[in-house]
Symmetry: C2
Subunit: 317 residues, 2 copies
């Protein structure tokens, strides 16, 4: 019997489901529309039906558990708590909702934590006991792994590197405070930087050909790839803020490696190289030239499902 | 047979030794002069003789191990590495040096880590799986405990909260960089603040009665206790920097509590209350009003020996 884990990624639009083996191979995959269901009960019912039919289509497997990655997923109580981009409000206990359908352990966590565990079980951090993953998406999330275990903190809310304040007089953040890393090093942050730079600087730029209000992080990436100086400067500024934050995070957890994940990380060396340069510049001497920054190896696969399923293996380990 | 652990605290001037039971009771205690020995071999020989005679004086005990706290002590390799305030230079492997004298496990770590483990085994953080201890001495050290384990990082160098940069244009730090927390929230940092305040402000102050160059953190404490406004402002400024740093550290590890230890922590509510106030102000909403800041309960005892001995119980656990 081949042991497998079920991974479920609940997003605002879609819910993706996969049956995953210990090597990270996806044996079956399916999607349902999150938005089509008005209550979490109905979504869970439909997901359970889908899962049962997927399981029936694969021979010779033993299912060990269900891992769920969701916005504001709380590992300690198995709930989604006040997720801003889901229809259902309040606290929704997913473990309880899945229990009637499966006699299996069910684990829930947030996206960044799932990414961390995914990287530890299947990815570049396989076998690494101490690392940091930073997810550079619309916002900035993170997962800290220490002594081979994810740092959840006492209430499962640890790992908010995106809300570490790096400049107390800095940019207004959605959280109500100022100067959080997320206001600089996210997809939305880099667009803010682009608008500032285009407004303040006089140089020509490919970005000036795009309507100011419509500039995206992808536009900045494409311009930088073509050697556009303002776009390159925008990446440099972003990397400086990220490198600064990483140097400080290293002083706390001294990781063996730092993994970058998500949209901005897709920019590859455009973000990796300057971030590494600034991190080394800002870092305390005892940490210098020891800590590689690497890209997630799961980004081109279905990382969210993999991360969710990895919760199951992590709990068995 | 009563189980006991040996705790050894190696300081620049003195080396303190204690035989400690699991409740943190010191059954025997002794001191030798570190500075009197020109080589670590001679110090270890003398310490071993002392320990053997101490052990012979107590009936009915079983010794489980030796824990050593030392400046720049490295838990992973059992060495003191380039300690600035000891006579011996380079890397000194204490585990190897003690081996010929005792058939016992020997553990080594630095002072802040020993304080963290001491607090977890005997102190206010007993049974707490997620906390931060900050040691406010000549410098600022820290220990992060997560999932019931000290965060050593991949190289045993984790927990340098004192060298987290809180203002990249801030005060010059001994580490060569600028704006480290240590330049503000240590005994030396608060004296720097006092000198700045006395120079820049015009108000009268008890501190003006002391020769400018000779002001100590104790003087500032005593003046603040008498209600001296400038001294109170100095504490407020220090607490603000510390509170800011703690709010950021909370976003990473979401601890159940924060423990303050060391000289500045002895100022009690003068430092505790404003630090808590600023930490709450700077903190992300999800962490607000959840995390107490408390004083170490070991400060008035021989905390350094206790911390060192706690390494033994922690390894058994």
């Amino acid at each position: 019997m081949k042991k497998v884990a079920i991974g479920i990624d609940i997003g605002g639009t879609n819910t993706a489901i996969g049956i995953i083996d210990y090597e990270g191979k996806c044996l079956a995959e399916s999607n349902i529309s999150t938005a089509a269901f008005n209550t979490p009960e109905l979504l869970v019912e439909e997901a359970s039906t889908k899962i049962k039919s997927m399981l029936n289509s694969i021979k010779g497997i033993e299912v060990l558990g269900i891992g769920i990655g969701a916005p504001n997923g709380n590992f300690f109580n198995g709930s989604i708590e006040y997720a801003p981009n889901l229809k259902w409000k309040g606290v929704v206990n997913l473990v309880k909702l899945f229990k009637p359908y499966f006699n299996l352990p069910v684990y829930v966590t947030n996206d960044a934590n799932a990414a961390a565990i995914g990287e530890m079980i299947y990815g570049v951090a396989k076998g690494v006991d101490d690392f940091i993953i930073v997810t550079l998406g619309t916002g900035v999330g993170s997962g800290f792994v220490s002594n081979g275990k994810l740092v959840y903190g006492h209430d499962a809310f640890a790992g908010e590197l995106g809300h570490v304040i790096i400049d107390e007089n800095g940019r207004q953040c959605g959280c109500g405070r100022k100067g959080c890393l997320e206001t600089y090093a996210s997809a939305t942050g880099i667009v803010r930087t682009a608008k500032e730079y285009l407004f303040l600087k006089k140089e020509d730029s490919l970005l000036r050909e795009i309507e100011f209000e419509n500039i995206t992080s992808k536009d900045i990436f494409e311009a930088a790839e073509k050697g556009d100086q303002i776009a390159l400067d925008i990446f440099d500024f972003t990397a400086r803020k990220l490198g600064f934050s990483l140097a400080n995070a290293v002083a706390i957890s001294s990781p063996k490696m730092i993994v970058l994940f998500g949209g901005l990380a897709m920019a590859g060396n455009l973000i990796l190289q300057p971030t590494k340069k600034y991190m080394e510049e800002y870092m305390l001497k005892i940490y210098k030239d020891k800590i590689p920054i690497v890209l997630s190896s799961l980004m081109n696969q279905n990382a969210a499902i993999l991360g969710a399923s990895a919760l199951v293996w992590d709990q068995i380990k």
